[in-house]
């Protein structure tokens, strides 16, 4: 199995305050992984460092066989990493359709690439609102749009930070199904969310983070078998 992403000893600081103290992670192509942990433990920071948005101060990141920890964010994105960021970050002055089209690309040359139509099929609400400016959407619609926008780049690795934040139960369900379907198509996904049960059903492997350090790594089955573990590091 080819290694898609390999992270070793990742350390990151915001100014003078260090947040990550050596994160390691390894994902194979087609694999689904999660990052789990309480608020403020460094999940988002990990993601930002992978994407080059907050450059790491130490450690190695290898993506599709290349070292990327020193690359600019746009280079990394063009190598096929796409993110659904915390807080959505929709382009407020672009319409829904433009948000989807602006960065569309086929970066992994799959036979069934994402298109406007396919995204609209997945989220019919977006089709209805396709001419709305991005900031005139409900919170949930924005989340759908953020996911659609990331998919439109046909990434090798899709990263979702708070994948279902602000989504209604029915839509949330659709997202899980969608992620499952993507996984079935061989899409590699790194996902953060608070619905741990759903994540266990979806993902191959999990990484528990506490204060910027990896405290546990393992498969869904292993995690499920140790409720004490996730109660301690994630909560309820």
């Amino acid at each position: 199995m080819t290694i898609l992403l390999e992270v070793e000893g990742l350390e990151t600081c915001y100014g003078s305050s260090q947040v990550l103290f050596g994160i390691h992670l390894r994902m194979a192509a087609g694999e689904v992984a999660t990052l789990l942990g309480r608020n403020g433990m460094g999940k988002t920071t990990t993601v930002r460092s992978l994407l080059g948005m907050t450059p790491a101060s130490a450690g190695r990141v290898r993506f599709r066989g290349e070292r990327i920890e020193h690359l600019a964010a746009d280079r990394i994105a063009r190598m096929g990493m796409a993110v659904v960021p915390e807080g959505r970050q929709i382009f407020a002055n672009l319409t829904v359709q433009e948000n989807l089209q602006a960065f569309a690309a086929n970066r992994n040359a799959s036979e069934n690439p994402w298109s406007l139509d396919r995204v609209y099929q997945l989220f019919p609400r977006l089709a209805e609102r396709s001419r709305n400016p991005g900031n005139r959407l409900s919170g949930g619609e924005q989340q759908m749009l953020a996911i659609g926008r990331a998919l439109m780049t046909n990434p090798h690795l899709l990263i979702l930070d708070e994948a279902t934040e602000g989504l209604a139960p029915l839509i949330r369900e659709e997202i899980w199904q969608c992620l499952a379907a993507l996984r079935a198509q061989g899409q590699a996904i790194l996902v953060i969310d608070k619905y741990v049960k759903r994540l266990m059903a979806l993902a191959d492997q999990h990484t528990l983070i506490e204060r910027g350090q990896v405290v546990w790594q393992g498969s869904s089955a292993q995690l499920e078998a140790q409720p004490a573990l996730w109660q301690r590091y994630i909560g309820v």
Partner: protein, 253 residues
């Protein structure tokens, strides 16, 4: 039954061709936690905007404590006790947690038309703020700069800001969004603790929380209130399940 604290009557709001609020009517009893649920884009946030005064409705009435408020500006409503929090975190990023909350306290605590006495010396106000911080679980972060808090902590501060104004009624737009399970739990405990003193209108997609908290639930679909009732009634309502809940009702039960 006493008259409701908040009464929404046939409220209408249009955005161009879209009717975001479509003759919505419901009432919130004093001391209740009243949940407002509905699919994404149903118009919940739009409704909260109209209740808080950020948007002016096109038609209909909003009665708060028996008084029509739909034409009043936002600050006047806050003074009357109707206070909101934001779905997208809106705090004072350069200030510390304590100072953030102290501003909220200041809003309700006497006049701010004071031009001479240093505000920093108002110990009572900062003490009050510290209390509020403690209630929402930010006691350890009092001197932390708000902008540097983690997402979840910022959400807690978001609620604290609203709480600091000692509202009679709180309008909370997805307070749990972006919180992990145990932070969610803490927020939930906080809201439970507020119940009775403070009436709450809660918009939330976390059904677990909604069903544990709510005294009454109204469901909004396409801007219309399709059902209002107890959690049990709502859970069983086939329209609500079709439009919103799906199978989650069972799961959360």
């Amino acid at each position: 039954m006493p008259p409701p604290l908040l009464q929404v009557q046939s409220l209408v709001k249009r955005f161009g061709g879209l009717t975001a609020t479509d003759h919505a009517s419901f009432a919130v009893q004093s001391g209740h936690i009243h949940a407002l649920i509905g699919p994404n884009g149903a118009g919940k946030t739009t409704l909260i905007h109209q209740l808080s005064g950020a948007l002016v409705p096109d038609a209909g009435q909003i009665l708060f404590a028996g008084e029509a408020v739909e034409r009043k500006p936002m600050p006047a409503r806050v003074q009357a006790g109707l206070v909101r929090s934001y779905q997208i975190t809106s705090i004072f990023k350069r200030l510390t947690v304590l100072e953030n909350i102290a501003l909220g306290v200041q809003a309700r605590d006497g006049s701010s038309w004071r031009f001479w006495q240093p505000a920093r010396n108002e110990r009572a106000r900062y003490a009050q703020a510290a209390e509020v911080a403690e209630r929402v679980g930010l006691a350890a972060q009092l001197q932390q700069t708000a902008g540097l808090l983690a997402h979840g902590e910022q959400r807690q501060l978001e609620v604290a800001l609203a709480l600091a104004t000692r509202p009679r009624m709180l309008l909370l737009d997805e307070p749990m969004a972006g919180m992990g399970p145990d932070e969610s739990e803490r927020m939930l405990q906080l809201l439970l603790q507020l119940r009775n003193d403070t009436t709450i209108l809660l918009v939330e997609h976390d059904m677990d929380a909604v069903f544990r908290l709510a005294d009454r639930i109204s469901t909004l679909v396409f801007g219309k209130v399709i059902a209002t009732g107890t959690p049990e009634e709502i859970r069983r309502n086939p329209d609500v399940r079709r439009a919103y809940l799906g199978d989650e009702a069972e799961e959360a039960a």
